[in-house]
Amino acid sequence: MSDPVRHDGLTQALRRLAEADRMMTTSPAIEARLRAEVRAMGGRSKTWNGGTLLALAAAVTICVSVPALWWRTHGQSGSTDAPHATTVAREATTEFFPLFYGSVPSSSGHIVRMEVPRAALAQFGLASAHDVDRTTGTVIADVLVGDDGLARAVRFVRPIFQE
């Protein structure tokens, strides 16, 4: 009597399948998520001394302040080139709201200014009416990005115009 369990054909079929399955792999986003988790764990387990905290605070402050100052300076000089246009006199900003990776430690970072859909305001419990660019339906946001490329926090910017 034959034994289908011992068929060479079945063994060969399974070998071929095992070979084909070597292509199976996890998506890259999973490793990125786990690395962020490990960084956070490392941050939580470290005991920061006063000097390190002070240096970190200074770095964050510089990263936040310098680009904002640069933007304001350039924004104002741009306004003088177009005397008849409506110009940005100053801007009002919200506080920074932490994002998903907000608790992941980072030694440095920078601010990226972008336009986001008005719906983003509602996600942080903000009213949208006076902040929205009526022509595009977007609002301006500053995103604080760590040196690892993960977004830590966001704030919304409202330009205040003058004639």
Binding site: D3, P4, H7, L10, Q12, A18, L34, E37, V38, M41
Partner: protein, 185 residues
């Protein structure tokens, strides 16, 4: 540095250690999860598995055998939890009697001609207890004793499930080949 050291370092926030550990074992965990609960859920299972491992700081009881078996053991627990019904994993002892005999030469020729998708589909359609024996011991070539520790059963049970899994697989492939012959006619 062995896998256990890498695991301990990763738990202490060593990112390169995690990266190395992940690249060493993610494929096998993903492979197991894809067969046991479908490719679309496999990414989630892999992520949850490694998160569980990373957050188990201070544990001294794991891993007992190999880190790979330890990781797949956690993935297995997550898969079973996701299924919600462990009764699906109960072994049906009557299946062996349902397996028809086939002429080895004819079967071998036809099995060798089966497409990868057909073979994969047949493996996925096996009852979970037999499927995981086939995935671990045939496709991943895991040692029987390690598989037994992972599945929390004697080595003899692993052999038995493997034997029955192969028998069922042969039946399914023979049936699909029969259907194929009928279509050609």
């Amino acid at each position: 540095m062995d896998d256990r050291d890498l695991l301990e370092r990763a738990r202490k926030g060593d990112e390169p250690a995690l990266s190395h550990l992940f690249s060493q074992h993610q494929r096998q965990v993903f492979h197991y999860a894809a067969y046991m609960c479908g490719p679309s859920a496999a990414d989630d299972i892999v992520q949850e598995t490694f998160l569980v491992v990373l957050r188990q700081t201070g544990r001294r009881d794991a891993p007992t055998s190999s880190v790979r078996a330890y990781l797949i053991g956690i993935a297995r627990h997550l898969v079973m939890k996701r299924h919600g019904r462990t009764s699906e994993w109960a072994v049906d002892e009557t299946v062996l009697e349902q397996v028809p005999s086939a002429e080895p030469n004819a079967f071998d020729r036809l099995a060798a001609a089966q497409s990868i998708d057909a073979i994969r589909g047949a493996v996925r359609s096996l009852p979970p207890a037999y499927r995981e024996a086939i995935v671990l011991c045939e496709l991943q070539e895991m040692d029987y004793s390690i598989a037994a520790a992972l599945l929390n059963c004697p080595v003899g049970t692993v052999r038995s499930r493997l034997h029955r899994g192969r028998a069922l697989l042969a039946t399914k492939l023979a049936a699909s080949m029969g259907e194929e012959v009928e279509r050609v006619r």
